[in-house]
Amino acid sequence: MAMTVKPWQWGNVPGHEMATPVKGDVVAKLIKSAKRPLLVVGGEALREKWGDKLLIDFVAELAKTGVPVVATAHTYRALRERGVEPAAIMTVADVTNRLQDPSWSVDGKGVHDLAIFVGISYQLQSQMLSTLKHFATHLRTISLDRYFHPNATFSMPNLKQDEWEQVLNNVIQVVRG
């Protein structure tokens, strides 16, 4: 039976169709099965913890598996310091704007089929996911933050810190293959 999840921000109820809550292996499998995923990372990744590290460390690990990254906010330097060269530096609005366009891709190698949002402040991320929900019907979205994002196609169901870190660790393991 599908989980019923309340959006992380209680007031953020957009409509009757909300994200499919996912955790465990499903998250990793979704990313692994995507043909042209794109990882969009925001400023919260520099503040959120991932174990004794920062969320940006997880992003770097995931990026090293070959998922192209768009560095939004001021995350670029931190990614470079972790050995990752992002495919682009953009604002989150700019990358969301382009993701609406089915002819656009960050590297010119074909349209993206999965946008993975992580470490973007909740309200801003929610609005960007709303744009994609309404105007990028060719695209699926997933939020890797631990807060339930109703506007995504898939989202974590408001996980506790340790549960969430377990999911992220699993993602790294599975995607690395």
Binding site: G15, H74, R77, T131
Partner: protein, 784 residues
């Protein structure tokens, strides 16, 4: 109130022996007296359709980007209609058009609010001073109201002229709002055009409101050396009775001060403290700099609960709508003076002053509605004086010793955090306090928006906001900052001095920190950004709540930016123009540059002036904490005039941005007015309005959005120096889009020359064939 404007006669068709005309409108009165101060331009008193082509031009480059807040439309009885994923509503509207419609409604609310404010102000002042009272801003300001001249073609001379202009504004707001009715407009682009129209009107309304109060109340008339005043939660002398004015319309606050002075009680602060919150606070300090500013809107509950105020006067806008309840909790009477915000209080207009004061002091009513401003001034002052010994500054913020007890009910359920607009870890802070650690609670004081949504949802009824304030008491006492009072307009003489270096790019830009206090990480980020750009030689202008919080970070010498930098509209100047309505002076300065410096015709010539500003005036607005519908219309008004705006992450909830796509070269081509050829000029500016996530990102984009096609080589080099320097500091590399801004080698900043040349070589950059042109979007301005 009788209408002060001229008589207007309209006829669909008029036939006489000599003439046959259709759609005739005849004004008898003020227009007949209008002097020919400049040949009339093409668009006097523009209606919705008049500037539509300009809007469509702008929006073909800066396409509306929508982020719907809700999947449904709930505006008519067919609904709710689910518009998600391409579905149409019962009326046929799709999600883009519906979102644009909501944006239009927001802009109409914003414009109507300023306009209604202006109407009240002007009518009140006409009653007090007469409709022939002159509009005189001093010898250094000849172009007294650039928006009025630009939009309507009128050069206002008296308060009566302002009332006439308001008639036009009111008609436009009504027209634009009517387009939002079900079954009217269906195109998102045309909804946006109307949002741009009504937001242009908003700037005119703001100009009218502020100029009216400047000329009659004796506010500073563009004085760069306007006095310093005090701002902060710790500025009040609590040994005295305290009057707290909340809102935006200072007419009533001035009556309080006048009453005190006429009654021999001295000016503000002598026997009675007169302080304010939000924009009315700005304006009482423009009247008397001894008045004080408690802080922005986010401090409203804090100061009420602190018990500092012995009488609260509310006028209009940005008032806590449960102000009466909150004030009652600390035994502070409320006097409401505006029929727009009467809060269910009894109308006591017919009662004598003494009787009203008795009612308030005895507590027989928690407050009164008293729209007679002169009487209200006396009532507020007397009530504060008599309540002070009774109340003894009664407060509901607990003593620090009580924090742990009150926090002990916390179960760490997280409900508070999940209802905090900026997702603050209130749950952790309260839980820590339960265990005796108040540090996080105290830290939250610096970033909390003060909305108390956390308290509303707490299942244990823990007063989290009050606990935050209790934990921060030691800090609050030291929150005293110096801020230059709002100086109002920019002088024509200043425009003559800086027009050339701004247009040629040698002053790298004009940055306007404007708007409200819905900051993602507290107001100190605004202070940090403003100081950064002032130190870099940008002209920094400020208004509203942003102007207040910009003083919250002191430099190494303990000075706020208002003490560190001069108040002149010049390189490295920090210019507080004043309250929300004073924003019109910032957009007005851009208009004046086009007119006074560049000698572009001003009168009813909107398109050409906006085109000039877009292509030549390196200005950028930053509304980092924008929350209100007024902020939506202010920003959109700047956009129509060609000024880009950055909003903070919360600003994404306005649901719409205007975004360019730098790689779409065709959209960034313009006419060279000298030859008529279409020329690519690079993405300058790249966007008209965008929401950003972090302060660091905002600083980089502020520098970038000041770049303009018309920059001279020296100017472009200076602007790129700042863009590159900030980019390297924050991102640790050169901007990847640098090749889109370097036209010739001479544009390259000397400091980074080798590095940039290497980068340009790698990306295959070549010097532009046409680095210097006369850029315009308007074909009619091509001279061949």
């Amino acid at each position: 109130m009788a209408e002060k404007g001229p008589l207007k006669i309209s006829a669909k068709e008029l036939t006489s022996g000599l003439v046959h005309a259709k759609d005739v409108e005849v004004f008898i009165g003020r227009l007949a007296m209008e002097e020919e101060w400049e040949p009339l331009g093409p668009t006097p008193f523009p209606s919705i359709a008049t500037l539509r082509s300009w809007d469509h031009l702008l929006l073909s480059r800066y396409k509306p980007f929508y982020a719907p807040f809700c999947d449904y439309c709930c505006l008519c009885t067919y609904g709710k209609c689910d518009l998600s994923k391409g579905r149409l509503g019962a009326c046929g509207l799709d999600m883009k058009a519906q979102t644009a419609r909501i944006v239009l409604i927001a802009c109409c609310i914003g414009a109507a609010t300023h306009l209604s404010h202006a109407r009240h102000m002007v009518d009140h002042l006409i009653e007090k001073y007469g409709e022939d009272y002159p509009i005189n801003l001093g010898s250094d300001i000849a172009v007294e109201m650039p928006h009025a001249r630009l939009i309507t073609g009128i050069k206002p001379k008296t308060l009566g002229d302002l009332a006439f202009l308001l008639n036009y504004c009111e008609k436009q707001v009504t027209q634009c709002l009517s387009a939002a009715h079900t079954g009217q407009e269906g195109s998102y682009i045309d909804f946006e055009s109307k949002a741009l129209q009504v937001s242009m009107i908003d700037h005119l309304a703001m100009e009218i409101a502020d100029v009216a109060q400047i000329v009659t109340f004796g506010f500073p008339k563009g004085d760069p050396d306007a006095p310093l005043t005090w701002v902060g939660l710790g500025v009040l002398d609590l040994s005295k009775p305290v009057v707290l004015c909340i809102g935006h319309n200072v007419s009533a606050g001035i009556e309080v001060i006048d009453y005190l002075e006429k009654s021999g009680l001295g000016g503000p602060g002598e026997t009675v403290e007169v302080a304010g919150l939000c924009c009315t606070a700005h304006d009482i300090t423009r009247y008397r700099d001894q008045a004080k500013i408690v802080g922005p809107i986010s401090d409203q509950l804090r100061i009420i609960r602190s018990g500092a105020a012995d009488a609260i006067m509310i006028d209009e806008q940005c008032i806590r709508t449960n102000v009466v309840y909150e004030a009652q909790r600390v035994k502070t009477p409320v006097i409401a003076v505006s029929d727009k915000a009467s809060h269910g209080l009894p109308d006591v207009s017919e009662l004598p002053i003494e009787k009203i004061v008795q009612m308030l002091v005895s507590g027989s009513t928690p407050g009164v509605f008293l729209p007679d401003l002169e009487k209200a001034g006396a009532v507020v002052a007397l009530t504060a004086i008599r309540m002070a010994p009774i109340r003894q500054k009664f407060k509901i913020i607990p003593d620090p010793s009580q924090i742990q007890t009150q926090a002990s009910q916390c179960t760490f359920c997280g409900t508070c955090r999940r209802n905090c607009p900026i997702d603050l870890p209130i749950d952790q802070a309260v839980f820590n306090a339960k265990n005796g650690n108040f540090e996080l609670l105290s830290m939250l004081h610096d970033v909390c928006l003060g909305c108390a949504r956390c308290e509303q949802v707490c299942p244990r009824k823990i007063p989290a906001l009050s606990l935050i304030e209790a934990a921060a008491q030691h800090k609050i006492k030291t929150e005293k900052y110096r801020m230059r009072v709002g100086r109002g307009p920019i002088l024509d003489t200043e425009i003559r001095e800086v027009g050339s270096p701004i247009v040629l790019g040698e002053i790298p830009g004009v940055v306007a920190y404007v708007g409200c206090a819905n900051f993602p990480n507290g107001g100190r980020e605004v202070a940090t950004m403003a100081r950064e750009f002032a130190r870099r030689g940008y002209i920094v202008t400020l208004s509203g709540c942003s102007a207040m919080v910009a003083s919250y970070v002191k430099n190494e010498e303990g000075k706020t930016i208002y003490e560190e930098f001069p108040g002149a509209f010049d390189r490295g100047g920090v210019v507080n123009v004043g309250s929300c309505v004073a924003n019109a002076h910032i957009s007005g300065a851009a208009i004046k540059i086009a007119n006074i410096f560049a000698r572009r015709p001003l009168r009813a010539n909107y398109e050409e002036i906006a085109d000039y500003i877009l292509n030549r005036v390196g200005a950028c607005g930053v509304a980092w904490g924008a929350y209100s519908q007024k902020a939506a219309s202010i920003a959109t008004g700047f956009n129509r005039l060609g000024v880009p705006v950055i909003v903070g992450p919360q600003g994404s909830k306005y649901r719409r941005m205007y975004l360019g796509r730098a790689e779409d070269k065709e959209s960034f081509t313009v006419y060279d007015a000298r030859t008529g050829e279409r020329v690519w000029v690079g993405p300058a500016p790249e966007h008209l309005i965008i929401a950003l996530e972090t302060m660091e990102e905002c600083m980089v984009w502020t520098a970038k959005l000041c770049i303009r096609p018309n920059d001279t080589t020296k100017g472009r080099m200076i602007k790129l120096t700042h863009y590159v320097d900030l980019y390297k500091r924050i991102y640790g590399r050169l901007p990847p889009d640098l090749h889109m801004f370097v036209r010739t080698e001479a544009d390259i900043p000397v400091t980074f020359k080798d590095e940039i040349m290497q980068h340009l070589k790698e990306v295959g950059w070549k010097p532009w064939e046409r680095p210097s042109i006369d850029p315009t979007l308007l074909k009619r301005l091509v001279r061949v």
